[in-house]
């Protein structure tokens, strides 16, 4: 879009009839007209670039905003919330003066185009969000979804994504402590690569993205700005893939984790010396986003000289510089007398830093290029006043038929032999199999504070070496459940993540989410989205865990076919002393196994129905959040008071899956007895929510039972830790060797 003469504000005012490529930049006609109305003239090319990226679905949340408001409106009262939705990431008080920030984001489309770099830059982006809050990043998690495990393209996408997440996170020195790997044909052309990060800081170190104080300098630091990923986020995130239009696929960004590691260290050093007034990372929409958000959140205006931006490619136009999504850059607002020290720290870490502008006492964002003013806008109109859509939504007409196709009526195993075969098949199925081949490509140990990592129910990090204070995180989502009922599916995702945190002994505090859906222009998808948000907001209110932030990824769709609605929920918890954490592995022969919660015949969306019948239909398991809360309290008390030595939550795959995992991890088997009132099949495979299995030392049996009884939680003794087999009395016995082969052989067999 280089033009002569330079398209300055003045020039734009004088040439109202010049046609701008607003449609190519993804704006709708009425949106363009809004811009003209706001400015009172046509925008300059640079202004158009800014509005178009900032008003994209990805940056403006225009389709989702009206629904997301519920997270604020229904937010439970929580003393833990220090910073809520709207900032780079939410911040939660975890006690002892510590605050924790965490968030999950998607990098789905880029990871399909270039799996390694797409996933790597996804990690890079979320980590910068965490640094921008003032925190030291301490861990990452990676909820992933791929197409069918045996599809040839999965063999291209998955290894690349995993190598990219590892390549970036490992190089940053961030332990990877959790995530998910799910295979389903619905994700074939739309893999989901979500990445989450956690950071820790002292309360007084919280930083916000705002530019205040006239005269303060705006410093851009980190990588030079190049032409990569121009329009990347906006176009990639707002268009469905269409093979007929490959030209629509813009360049993918390449990440430099080494540069980001330097960025972390020099930013933290600057924080430590209290040099920073406001700070913003450069992610989607690059400088357009950083400058407009900093300026609109601050008290004054901002003036930026684009000529001062260090470039990697000297031929870039000002519009391209504003839109560039070059990775590993940050923007800081620094008082004039502290600028020298800030630049010194950057130099110490070999990070390029340049003053590109300053905060003004006006209220405009003004950007200059070669002496001409090419942007003159009210920054709020760019950053916050984007379009808001009330997209039509409607429950799809196929929903009734889907729910009527009851999984509880599927043929069940007729003999003990068949039951046993199905157990082996289940634990060896790609979704239930061990993900070790993947997770061992991630560093779990770096930073020396990892208390729990894969394959524990939640990852746990020690925050304070003296007191043992720690935080835990789990991410969960089940697209099959959500497809059957998006409201319940979202609550089940929340319930599972909550349960996973509590199972390890940590108290759930707050929620982040990543909402992955198809096209919002499809009313059926929009209904799924609306229902899922409503479910999650209601659920968070009931559990007392506020949503602190999150991310929406729409257009995950190939042609007419949308992915399963896939709300991924991350729950953050706190534990006073990590020495009290509860692991999954069986610890000692002879310990008693108890099943907590109620087991019903619930097979809709279950792993069993998928693995044995390739079926998806009926209703997902019922949700009882009061029960989840009670279960959580019991698990936390039992851990604190040393009543249990291991615990594992029950989720997809049911009881047998959980017991097999605990057995294989501990290298000890179990003898199980089917409780009265249940048949073996339901006992083993049902996916009723609100349940966990715990191993209780004999000395604690009475105390533990009394506690459950007193609080009214159903508890059933189901067996004992023992031997080299998993045996279901009167039914079958499977050796740990055979189970291990089935459980651990599948993924390497498919991918190695």
């Amino acid at each position: 879009m280089s033009r002569t003469p330079l398209d300055t504000v003045e020039h734009a005012a004088a040439t109202p009839d010049v046609e701008l490529p607003w449609a190519e930049l993804g704006l709708k006609k009425d949106e363009y007209e809004r811009v003209v109305e706001i400015l009172g003239r046509r925008p300059t090319g640079a202004e158009l670039a800014m509005y178009s990226v900032m008003w994209s679905e990805h940056c403006s949340y225009k389709s989702s905003k009206v629904h997301l408001r519920q997270f604020g409106e229904k937010a439970p009262r929580s003393d833990a919330m220090l910073v809520g939705i709207g900032e780079n990431a939410g911040v939660v008080d975890v006690g002892q003066g510590y605050a924790v920030t965490f968030k999950v984001e998607s990098h789905n489309h880029p990871s399909y185009v270039e799996p390694y770099q797409g996933a790597a830059t996804g990690v890079g982006g979320i980590v910068r969000d965490i640094i921008a809050m003032g925190a030291r990043p301490v861990a990452v998690v990676d909820p992933l979804r791929f197409g069918a495990a045996d599809h040839p393209d999965t063999k291209r996408v998955l290894p690349g994504v995993v190598a990219g997440i590892g390549g970036y996170g490992n190089c940053l020195g961030l332990p990877n402590i959790g995530g998910e790997v799910v295979f389903d044909a619905c994700y074939q052309g739309n893999p989901l690569v979500n990445a989450g990060a956690i950071g820790v800081m002292r309360h007084e170190d919280i930083h916000l993205a705002k530019a205040s104080g006239a005269g303060n300098k705006v410093i851009l630091y980190g990588a030079r700005t190049g032409g990569d990923g121009i329009g990347g986020a906006s176009i990639l995130a707002s268009e469905t893939f269409d093979d007929a239009k490959p030209s629509k696929r813009p360049a993918v960004q390449v990440g430099d984790p080494f540069q980001e590691k330097l960025l972390i260290e020099c930013t933290l050093e600057a924080f430590q010396e209290k040099l920073v007034v406001g700070i913003q990372d450069l992610g989607a929409a690059g400088l357009s986003c950083a400058t407009s958000e900093l300026a609109s959140n601050g008290s004054g205006g901002m003036r930026v000289t684009l000529d001062d931006v260090p470039l990697r490619d000297s031929t870039l136009s000002p519009e391209e510089i504003l839109m560039s999504e070059s990775q590993e850059r940050m923007c800081a607002v620094v008082e004039p007398e502290k600028v020298d020290r800030f630049l010194e720290i950057c130099e110490k870490w070999d990070v390029i830093a340049t003053v590109i502008g300053e905060v003004t006492d006006g209220d405009r964002l003004e950007i200059f290029w070669h002496g001409g003013k090419i942007v003159d806008v009210d920054p709020r109109t760019v950053a916050h006043d984007g379009p808001v859509y009330e997209r039509p939504y409607a429950r799809p007409e196929w929903q009734d038929a889907l729910q009527a196709d009851d999984a509880n009526k599927l043929p069940r195993p007729q003999s003990s032999g068949e039951l046993k075969d199905q157990v082996l098949k289940l634990v060896g199925s790609p979704n239930q199999a061990s993900k070790q081949w993947i997770t061992q490509q991630y560093d779990h140990f770096v930073q020396g504070n990892t208390v729990l990592a894969q394959p524990e129910d939640s990852g746990m990090i020690r925050v304070d070496e003296e007191s043992g204070l720690g935080v835990a995180i789990a991410t969960d989502g089940n697209g099959r459940y959500a497809k059957l009922d998006p409201y319940t599916g979202a609550q089940l995702a929340l319930a599972e993540a909550y349960r996973n945190v509590a199972t390890t002994g940590a108290k759930p505090l707050a929620v982040s989410d990543c909402l992955n859906f198809g096209s919002p222009e499809d009313p059926a998808v929009m209904w799924q989205f609306a229902e899922a948000v409503r479910g999650l907001a209601d659920g968070c209110l009931q559990l007392g865990t506020p949503v602190t932030g999150g991310n929406v990824s729409l257009y995950n769709q190939t042609g007419e076919a949308a992915i399963h609605p896939t709300p991924v929920v991350a729950v953050l918890g706190v534990i006073d002393d990590v020495a009290r954490r509860t692991p999954v592995a069986f610890q000692e022969d002879g310990q008693l196994l108890y099943l907590l919660g109620d087991t019903r015949e619930e097979f809709g969306g279950s792993a069993w129905s998928q693995v044995v019948h390739d079926h998806l239909g009926g209703l997902p398991p019922k949700v009882d959040l009061e029960r989840e809360r009670l279960l959580g309290e019991i698990l936390i008390s039992a851990s604190r008071d040393g009543m249990i030595d291991s615990a594992h939550d029950l989720s997809d795959g049911g009881l047998v899956q959980a017991v097999v995992e605990s057995a294989l991890l501990g290298g000890r088997g179990a003898r199980l007895v089917v409780p009265d009132g249940l048949d073996a099949f339901t006992f083993l495979f049902s996916e009723s929510a609100g349940r966990a299995v715990v191993a209780v030392p004999r000395s604690e049996e009475v105390r533990f039972n009394d506690m459950c009884g007193a609080r009214g939680l159903p508890v059933t003794r189901i067996g004992v830790v023992d031997g080299e087999t998993v045996e279901v009395q009167g039914e079958f016995s499977l050796s740990l060797t055979d189970l291990r082969e089935a459980h651990e052989g599948t993924i390497p067999g498919l991918l190695a």
């Binding site: 990588a223 190049g226 360049a251 390449v254 540069q259 490619d313 070059s326």
Partner: protein, 90 residues
């Protein structure tokens, strides 16, 4: 038997952190006068049978679909002359 070489380099507009790291180290090693460094991959394929146009076309396909990701990388295919092979071995 002939050797075909496929060179794969990041597209010029794409960040090359590896090349940059090398370049930034040069002054420390006492090297001046190198204004840019880019690092890529070199594949040496030993081809059975004649390297005719058909064979080269197939290797071109291979490079395009597998050895390079053309979203971010360019590649070139060339037959390595006997001389070059001899020199490289030296």
């Amino acid at each position: 038997m002939a050797r075909v070489v496929v060179d794969v380099m990041l597209k010029p507009e794409i960040l090359d952190p590896q090349g940059q790291a090398v370049q930034r180290a040069l002054p420390r090693l006492g090297f001046e006068g190198i204004s840019d460094v880019r690092q890529g991959k070199r594949f040496e394929l030993e081809v059975d049978g004649p390297v005719d146009d058909a064979a080269l076309a197939r290797i071109h396909d291979l490079a395009e679909s597998f050895l390079a990701n053309t979203v971010i990388e360019d590649f070139t295919v060339r037959v390595e002359s006997e001389d070059a092979v001899a020199e490289a071995v030296k």
